[in-house]
Symmetry: C2
Subunit: 470 residues, 2 copies
C-alpha cells in the first residue's frame, strides 16, 4: 500500500517536473539571453527539480536531460559528452575502485579499528576525528577531489566495520551520518587554507588584479575563527538533523582492540595497499610542482592493486555504482559548463550586479555573498563558478564601497563553504553519494542547512573578525 | 599447483612485456618519426602484447598504458582521456545496460525461445540464424555498433536460456561460440552493403576522387559471392576451432515451445521493452537523415526502461563490467587516435608504399591488401583506419597498375572484414567481449583465423569474381 502511494507520489512529481520543463522551454526568452542558453537552463533546472522533488533518481533524471538536450540540438553530442573525458571526473571513478581495494586488502579494517579504539566511544566523536584528520592534511593537499579519495575509503571502512552497510539496509546506523559529516568537513577544511583547494590560489591571483593582496597567512588568519567555530558546530548539527541510529558505543574501543589482536600482523596485501596508498598521496601532493596528472597517478595505483590481485575483475563486476556516478556527474557537469559557455551564468551575474547597484556597502556585501552561495545550485564545479563569477562580483562590491580584501576573501571562502548545497556541487560530494550511503535528495536538505549555517557564521562572526583584523 | 604454474607463467610474460616496452622505448627513433609518436607506439604495442601473451587482462594492461603515457608526458591528460567522451563509445556502454533490460523484461527469453523453436536443433543452426538476421537488417542499419546493440541482447538471451552463463562457468556450453559467430557475422554483413557501416559510403566518396564510381549495386554485386561463401564457411570454421560444448539439442525446439506456452501472454514489461527497442531501432535507422545522435537515442531508450522500473539502480550495481569496458576501450581508442595524429600511421603507410613500389600490379594488389588488414592491429576504429590509410593505399595501387575499382573495393571490404582481428578492432567486438563470454585473448586467436579466412576468400574467389564482373 505504501508502495502504491509512493509510486503515485512519484508520478505526480514527474508530471510536475514535466510541466515546469515545458513551461520554461516555451516561455519567452529573457532579454540578453539566446534561445540555446534558455533551453539548456530549462532542461538543467528541470533535472535538478526532479531530484529535489524525489520524482526520480539523479541518474534517470540526468540521462533524460542529456538525451533531450542532444535530440533537440540544444547541445551538440560533443558538448554534451565532454564531461566524460574530464580528468578530475575520471579521478572520482578510479578513487571508487581504489576504495574497494582499501576495504578488500584488510587495511581499511585495520585503520578503522585503530580510529575506533581511540575515538570510538561515540558516533559524534568519530565524526570529529575524521574531520580533524582532514584539516590536518589539507594544507599540503590542494585538491579536495583527491582528498576525498583519501578520506572516503577510511570513512567507508569505519561504517562497514561498525556493521552499517548499504547492501543490507543499515546505512543509517552510522555510515550515512559519518559520510555527511566528512563531506561537510571538506567544505570547511578547503576554506581554511589557501592551498587546500585548487581554486583558492587562482582566486587570490585574480584578486591581485583589483589590488588586493592575499597571502598564505592573511587567508588562514581570516578563515581561522569562523572555521574553528564551524568545526565544532557542524558535526553537532548534522548529529541532530541527520542522526546516526547508533549514538553511543562504550564497548567499541575494547571490541576494536580485540579485533586488532585477532587480525594479528599486517598482511602482504595490507602492506601493498598501504605502500600504494602512501605512494599515491605523495604523488598527488607533488602533482602540482611535478606537473603530474592526478588521474594518471590514480590509474597507476589501481594497476598496482590489479597486478597484485587486491582488486580483481570479479570485484569490478560489483562496482556498477561507479559507472552510474560517472554517467550522471559527467552529464550534469557538461550541462553546467555549457550553461556558462552559452552565456547564462554571465547573464545571471550581470542581473544581480545591476539589481544590487546603489545600495549601501553592507547590503551589497551581504547581497553579493548570498547570491554567490545560491548560484552554486547551477554549478557543478567550484572552480568553474569562481572563474565565471568571482571577478564580476568582486568588482561590483568594490565599486559599492565594500572593503576590497574582505569582499575578495568572503567570496573565495564561499567558493568552498557552499560546496555541499547540491550532490554535484563538489566532486568530493560525488564520491560519498556514489557509495549509496547518502541519497542525492538528502543532500539538498541536510547540505542546504549546513550551507546556511556556514554562510551565517561567515557573514556574522567571520565578518566581524575580518573587520577587526584586516 | 596449476594455479602456481599459471602465476609463474603470468610473471614471466609480464617481465617479457616489460622488456619489450623498455627496449622499444629506448631504441633509436626511426627516421621520419618524432619521439612522441615512437614512445606512444612503444606503450601501445606493449599493452597489446600483454593481452596477446596473456600477461594480464586487457583492463589492467590499458590502465598501466594510459598512466605511463600521461606520466611520461607522451600524451597530455586531455588527449589520453578524449576517448571517454566519444559518442560511439558511450553508445556501447548504454547498449550494455539496455541489453540487461531485454533479459530482465522477459522479452529476451521469448525471442530466444522463438528462435530455438525454429532453428534450435543444433548450435550451428542457431549461429546461422543469428547471422542471417544480421545480414537481413544490415542494409538499413549503417552502424555496426548500433547493430551489435540489437543482436547482442538476443544472442545473450539465447545463451542464458540454454543455461550457458558466465557467472557459473558454463560460458563455453553455447554462449562463447554464438557470440564469436555473431561477431564474425558482423564483419561480413558490414562488408555486404554500401550502407551497412558508416565508413562504407565515406570511402566510396573518397574513391570518387580517383575517378572510381562505386554505386549501391556495384558494391553489393562485387561483395555478394565472397560474402555468401563466407556466410556458410565462417560459422562452420568457428564451430570446429572454438566449438560449443553442446552441439545437438534435438529436444530443444519442443522444450522451447513448452516454455513459450508456460510464459503465456506477453507481459506489460515485455510490451514496454519491445516498444522501446523498436522505437530505438527506428530512430537509429533514421539517425542519419534526421541528424540524431545515436547515443542520445540510446539514453532516451534507457530512461524509458528506468522510469518503468525495467532497469533499476539495483540492476546497475551488477554492471561493473560495462565500466571496465568503457575504461579499456576509451583508453586504447585514445591511444590509437593519437598514434595517427602524431604521424605514426602515416609513416607506416608511406613505408609500405615505398617498399611495394616497383612490383607488378598483382603483387602490389596482394601486398597492399594484406598490409591494410594487418595494420588493423594498431587501429581501434575501422573508420579511423579507412580515413587514415585508404586514400594513400588506393593511390599507390592505381599508380602500380591495379584496376582502380578493384583496388578501391577490396580495401573498403577489408575495412570491414578485418574487424575481428583484435578485441578492440570494432566497437561491435567490444560489446561481446564485455559480456564475459569471450576473453580478449581468445579473439586474437580465433579472430585472427577468421580474418585470415576472410582475407583469403576475398583475395582468391572474390578477386576472380571482380575481374569477371567489373
Amino acid at each position: 500500500m505504501s508502495n502504491i502511494k509512493e509510486n503515485r507520489y512519484k508520478h505526480h512529481m514527474q508530471a510536475l517536473v514535466l510541466f515546469i520543463g515545458v513551461f520554461l522551454w516555451f516561455s519567452p526568452v529573457p532579454d540578453g539571453l539566446n534561445t540555446q542558453a534558455w533551453h539548456l537552463f530549462a532542461i538543467f533546472i528541470s533535472a535538478i527539480f526532479a531530484v529535489i522533488l524525489n520524482a526520480m533518481p539523479i541518474l534517470t533524471s540526468s540521462i533524460i536531460a542529456v538525451s533531450l538536450a542532444v535530440l533537440t540540438n540544444t547541445m551538440s553530442a560533443k558538448q554534451a559528452y565532454s564531461g566524460f573525458g574530464e580528468s578530475f571526473i575520471l579521478l572520482i571513478i578510479v578513487a571508487f575502485l581504489i576504495a574497494r581495494g582499501v576495504i578488500k586488502s584488510g587495511l581499511g579494517k585495520r585503520i578503522a579499528f585503530l580510529i575506533i579504539k581511540k575515538f570510538g566511544k561515540s558516533s559524534l566523536g568519530l565524526s570529529y576525528s575524521v574531520i580533524a584528520a582532514d584539516m590536518f592534511i589539507s594544507p599540503a593537499f590542494p585538491s579536495n577531489t583527491a582528498r576525498s579519495g583519501v578520506l572516503f575509503p577510511i570513512v567507508n571502512a569505519l561504517a562497514n566495520d561498525s556493521n552499517s552497510k548499504v547492501s543490507d539496509g543499515t546505512r543509517k546506523k552510522l555510515g550515512s551520518f559519518l559520510m555527511m559529516a566528512s563531506m561537510a568537513g571538506l567544505t570547511i577544511s578547503s576554506t581554511l587554507w589557501l592551498t587546500a583547494m585548487a581554486a583558492n590560489p587562482a582566486g587570490a591571483k585574480m584578486a591581485a588584479e583589483y589590488g588586493v593582496e592575499i597571502t598564505y597567512g592573511s587567508w588562514a588568519l581570516a578563515a581561522s575563527l569562523p572555521v574553528i567555530i564551524l568545526f565544532f558546530l557542524v558535526p553537532w548539527v548534522i548529529y541532530k538533523i541527520y542522526p546516526p541510529e547508533i549514538k553511543y558505543t562504550p564497548d567499541a574501543p575494547r571490541i576494536a582492540e580485540n579485533a586488532l589482536q585477532t587480525m594479528g600482523k599486517i598482511s602482504r596485501n595490507e602492506w601493498i595497499m598501504a605502500a600504494t596508498f602512501i605512494g599515491m598521496v605523495f604523488l598527488w601532493i607533488m602533482s602540482g610542482s611535478l606537473g603530474l596528472d592526478k588521474t594518471a597517478v590514480a590509474f597507476l595505483g589501481l594497476s598496482v592493486l590489479m597486478l597484485s590481485n587486491i582488486f580483481t575483475l570479479d570485484d569490478l563486476l560489483h562496482e556498477g555504482n561507479a559507472l552510474g556516478t560517472l554517467i550522471w556527474f559527467a552529464i550534469l557537469y557538461g550541462m553546467s559548463v555549457h550553461l556558462d559557455k552559452f552565456g547564462f551564468m554571465g547573464w545571471v551575474g550581470d542581473n544581480i550586479s545591476m539589481f544590487i547597484d546603489g545600495f549601501s556597502w553592507p547590503v551589497v556585501y551581504i547581497g553579493l555573498t548570498l547570491s554567490y552561495v545560491l548560484i552554486h545550485y547551477f554549478f557543478v564545479s567550484q572552480t568553474a563558478q569562481m572563474l565565471a563569477l568571482f571577478s564580476v562580483f568582486l568588482g561590483v562590491g568594490i565599486k559599492a564601497g565594500v572593503p576590497a580584501e574582505m569582499m575578495a576573501l568572503i567570496l573565495l571562502f564561499a567558493t568552498n563553504f557552499n560546496a555541499i548545497i547540491t550532490p554535484q556541487g563538489s566532486s568530493a560530494n560525488v564520491i560519498y553519494v556514489g557509495s549509496g550511503y547518502i541519497e542525492a535528495k538528502e543532500i539538498y536538505k541536510v547540505g542546504g542547512i549546513i550551507t546556511l549555517i556556514n554562510t551565517l557564521v561567515f557573514l556574522t562572526i567571520g565578518t566581524a573578525w575580518m573587520l577587526l583584523i584586516l
